[in-house]
Assembly symmetry: C2
């Protein structure tokens, strides 16, 4: 189907090697539900606060100083310019999602003007270098983030042009990109930014402008990676994701956000150049990373130290990092792989990451944020500096604007089109409109409820295919599908979709009923940090246990679900949480710890717990945690010893 | 008993509130065994290399520049001076343990001369400040380590005087200490070093010189802690161990080495001032730290990030830090608590830490060192910068000299005296001599063998008491004691010692037979990172499983001991390990992992392992690991699902 409406964040070129294409802007209007609430609070609270903080923290002022319009010294992180442009990108998608807003438009115009005037005549733009270290231009690429900042500038410029038709920032971005190409193209500077991000941005700029040199430059940056061009860091080349070339690396290592941003660029380059080898390498890393380095919540990055991926199967619930930006970057990567391959597993991870890590990153009011998204908080914890409770903002303010730009463009991720028809990827309550005359209404209370009703409001007069993603957690025999009132087979195709081919008439409905009964989830036995534990999920939602919901007098750490009762749901209100919430109740034993003196190691009888009572443990959706108090939380609870460990299958030779 | 021989590292004053006193220098001569081998390799390899590296890395040169005897710029860490003085302290104990050595003595004299000439007329001495930042004297105490460096200077000065009678460095140390007192005493500078260490050093200097102002200054530094005097760090006041006063803090938090050095000073101050409240607070923290924050190997510090203690029960085997210096500092702390209280549990931890973390920190040749002492290394690990395999040296070279100064003075920790008699604390093969006429020979192959034979070579003609520590792991009913050939009761007193009161005759023997049969050890159920695992210990030795010792074709991570067979020992040679080694063999199932695609989480049947074979898993003493290859290692192995989890005791109401 042809692309007529202005594009959203990702718009593969007509020649791109992709199976699916996103809808244009306005192609999906979110009409309510949880996603609608996220968009509301982002519009009403997060973005206005972000705009205010960019000014009040002096972040915009750095650029004003660089433009010669203000006096003072540089304030904040080296890469503070990217906070400005990420908020601008968020503003752009905000305007796209909600329509005109005079204050936001005024901000966009004003900030774009500052960036424009701060830009040097040769296209160079970086307020840190211009204000604080004018003789260090490109001298410290290992840490300066100069190209990283261009990446966000480019993304903001493209977004503003697509969302509002105002191409003033785009022009700034193009001048910067032209400058980068002139400096870094083959035969020029051999450097590479220590922090990937410009790669995916340059490809999108190519898509938006048709200027091939941007794609070539992105491809060159991708190819340079892994050959030491990023320079020397005492954190090692792995921190810079410069330890192995993108064609040969088999897993993600090092700084999670860097590695994930790079992968988005790798897939973009592969799609636009038709490089199947490069695509296959990225898929191989995705498979390995999902199987060995991904938290139940979709979080990435097992280590606080250097914000890094851990070893295979190193997935601690307590000290995992799971940076909010990594979740956004992971969605960028998986989304691009979904477009390239049309396989639902990539959308499954987008959804898991969205409904858990991204959703939990912001409090219910939209004004406090997690940088780190742990799966466990101990009582009386002494969290590392970026851990602990949500905070109003960060000196390194990368995360909140990242979430805002994602949530503003959420509709972009809800559906795709192919030559055959339309694919529903996320089940947001929405109005969907393609460029060639399909209009659908999706009505659902998903993810709280599993029923999704799609109504065809308008249709071409030729047959087309509606594909509905069947999430991996909804077993076909617990899923129902009806088309125009008649039950249909629930048999996903080889890419994971339920396919309905039909000559549609306006008013036709398709009803999908996914299995959102609570389910117990167990970790693979190789996950040392989770051995012997159990978690609760429901649809795409990971649940967690907060101390505040447990029976009086029962310490969270002593709760041990039996694992053999069917958990039940209970819809209830709780002060601090918006509206009634679907809690999950399940039977749990209370462990009576032996008195603790001396080392916590000994012969079995000294260390085994006694089971002293059976109670009901209560779980709340993970994304709602830390909204009521700062108490203890666990996603994974130990399995009661009354029910033994995993039931071993013994295969004797 | 009176103190006549020159003192070792810790010499409580006559008035100190201590139950036990260390023997003087030469009071214990280690005659062989594992400890003897450690001393040999320290003397022959580690100390000479350290001396060479202090010169070749430019560390000594910093002081020569400060003394005006060389040209150049400062090299290395701010606190590089402490490397010089720690090696000097190691040299001192080396000379004490092994007698005169012209080369070492020449080094000591030469380096002491450099320190002497680098010292400013007012007593100030810090080559970093003097060479690189002359206007920053005491301006950055939060990070400068100026007082920390004095601490090591003082300890070296005291050690050299005690060991060799050469008081030249002691004079430098006294001038520095007098300067510190003049600067920081009540009414003077309000600062506090970000890194404790000077506290314990000043108390020892008081003990050595009788100068009360040193004790007062140490007490003042201890009291200032927790009130913000250390300044501001973006790592938080907990990193500086300045978050809570020593009188009220209930557990150790923050940077492990800082916290532990401070505790040594706290106990020293408490002992010399008779401050029972301060002592009780330190014991409370010791009990909490042992119960909740100590690795099986005695290691301290669960986090790489900021080298910090974790939360209670946060004890990951893979990403734990367990810094070598923390182990040395922990021994300093526990030893002082042992002297203060006479309770064997403190010596138990000294022994555990010594035979595991400290012993493992150095390779069998004495020329490679661990900074971080993990309890697990995964295959294909991407270790954080200070993790991974042992290295020849470190830019931050704190650890190897710390081990060298401990091993050189190891005899100091083997036995104590009280008004009643002699206590055997560590069972080193040794000749022991007290100041009042007791001479003993300890013959043993401990810890490889549990039999310890003590012969009384010389004795006063009045009765005295021989006390033998009964380690907590040796159950009385599996322990044998005989006195002069006659079986004796194995009933420890309330402090944990087997007591033999007797009018001794020369030639009398006492034989203690401790239970060093291999034993299976389980973690307390609250230790999330170790749930469902099992370890092997034998006497004071923690064992570990290295991939190289397992049956061909069996991956370490698939080994799951059944936990219900009696492990056996096998004495065998293995290329790369010195002499025959006592391995422990135990039955283990091999787990057959389900194929891994998608996330490593699912319903029980998808995640439970199958048991495919029974094999023999082989364990080697932890302190010998990483001497053969860089392969995978685990202290804790998952317990086979064939045998269920911990056997639950069910207490129904």
């Amino acid at each position: 189907m042809t692309q007529l409406k202005p594009a959203g964040p990702v718009a593969p070129s007509a020649a791109a090697a992709v199976r699916l294409r996103p809808l244009g802007l306005g192609g999906v209007r979110v009409t309510g539900g949880l996603a609608g609430e996220w968009q509301r609070r982002t519009r009403d609270v997060t973005v206005p606060r972000a705009v205010e903080l960019i000014v009040s923290t002096g972040t915009l002022r750095n650029l004003e100083i660089a433009a010669g319009e203000a006096e003072g010294v540089f304030r904040g992180m080296h890469f503070a310019d990217s906070d400005v442009t990420k908020v601008l990108e968020a503003v752009a998608w905000q305007l796209a999602a909600h329509g005109p807003d005079a204050a936001l438009e005024e901000t966009a115009v004003r900030w774009a003007g500052v960036l424009e005037r701060a830009q040097r005549p040769d296209g160079y733009l970086n307020s840190w270098i211009q204000v604080a270290a004018p003789d260090r231009r490109y001298a410290d690429l290992v840490s300066s983030h100069e190209l990283y900042c261009y990446g966000h500038l480019i993304q903001a410029g493209v977004a503003l042009d697509r969302a509002t038709g105002n191409d003033r920032l785009l022009a700034v971005a193009r001048r910067a990109a032209d400058h980068v190409v002139a400096e870094f193209r083959r035969g020029g500077r051999a450097g590479l930014d220590g922090h990937p991000e410009i790669e995916t941005a340059l490809v999108e700029l190519y898509r938006h402008t048709g200027e091939r040199s941007y794609l070539d430059q992105a491809a060159q940056f991708v190819e340079r990676r892994g050959h030491g061009f990023a320079g020397e860091s005492d954190r090692g080349s792995v921190y810079l994701v410069d330890h192995e070339p993108a064609r040969t690396a088999t897993t993600l290592n090092g700084h999670a956000v860097r590695a994930l941003y790079l992968e988005a660029g790798v897939v973009d380059v592969a799609a636009e150049t038709g490089d199947t080898e490069l695509l296959a390498a990225s898929i191989r890393r995705w498979d390995d990373t999902v199987a060995h380095k991904t938290a139940l919540t979709g979080g990435h990055g097992s280590r606080h130290l250097f914000e890094a991926f851990g070893d295979r199967d190193e997935l601690p619930p307590d000290q995992s990092y799971n940076e909010t930006c990594a979740a956004v970057a992971s969605i960028h990567w998986s989304w691009r792989l979904l477009l390239a391959t049309g396989e639902s597993r990539f959308a499954d991870l987008v959804e898991r990451t969205l409904y858990n890590t991204v959703a939990a990153s912001t409090n219910v009011h939209g004004d406090r944020f997690f940088y780190v998204n742990a799966l466990q908080r101990r009582p009386d914890a002494t969290p590392p500096p970026k851990g602990g409770r949500r905070r109003p903002w960060f000196r390194c303010a990368c995360c909140p604007p990242n979430v805002a730009r994602l949530i503003g463009s959420l509709g972009h991720y809800a559906a795709t089109t192919s030559d055959d028809g339309v694919q529903l990827q996320l089940f947001l309550p929405a109005e969907i409109e393609t460029n060639d005359g399909v209009r659908l209404t999706v009505a659902t209370a998903y993810p709280d409820d599993g029923r999704i009703r799609v109504t065809v409001d308008q249709t071409p007069t030729r047959p087309w295919r509606l594909e509905l993603r069947l999430p991996a957690w909804s077993a076909p025999d617990h899923t129902a599908l009806s088309v125009a009132g008649a039950p249909a087979d629930v048999r996903p195709d080889e890419r994971g979709y339920l396919v309905v081919d039909r000559l549609w008439r306006p008013g036709d409905t398709v009803e999908l009923d996914l299995d959102v009964a609570p389910r117990l989830t167990y970790p693979h036995h190789r996950l040392d940090a989770l051995r012997g534990t159990i978690a609760v999920e429901r649809g795409p939602l990971v649940y967690c246990f907060e101390q505040i919901d447990q029976p009086a007098g029962v310490t969270l750490d002593d709760l041990a679900p039996t694992g053999d009762d069917t958990p039940t749901t209970r819809r209830e209100s709780s002060p601090g949480l918006p509206g009634p919430v679907t809690f999950v109740d399940l039977a749990a034993d209370v462990l009576a710890a032996r008195p603790r003196t001396g080392l916590p190691y000994g012969a079995a009888p000294a260390t085994d717990p006694a089971v002293r009572a059976r109670v009901v443990a209560r779980a709340v959706p993970y994304h709602l945690w830390d909204n009521r108090d700062g108490g203890a939380m666990r996603v994974w609870l130990p399995r009661s010893p009354r029910h033994g460990a995993a039931s071993a299958t013994v295969i004797e030779p």
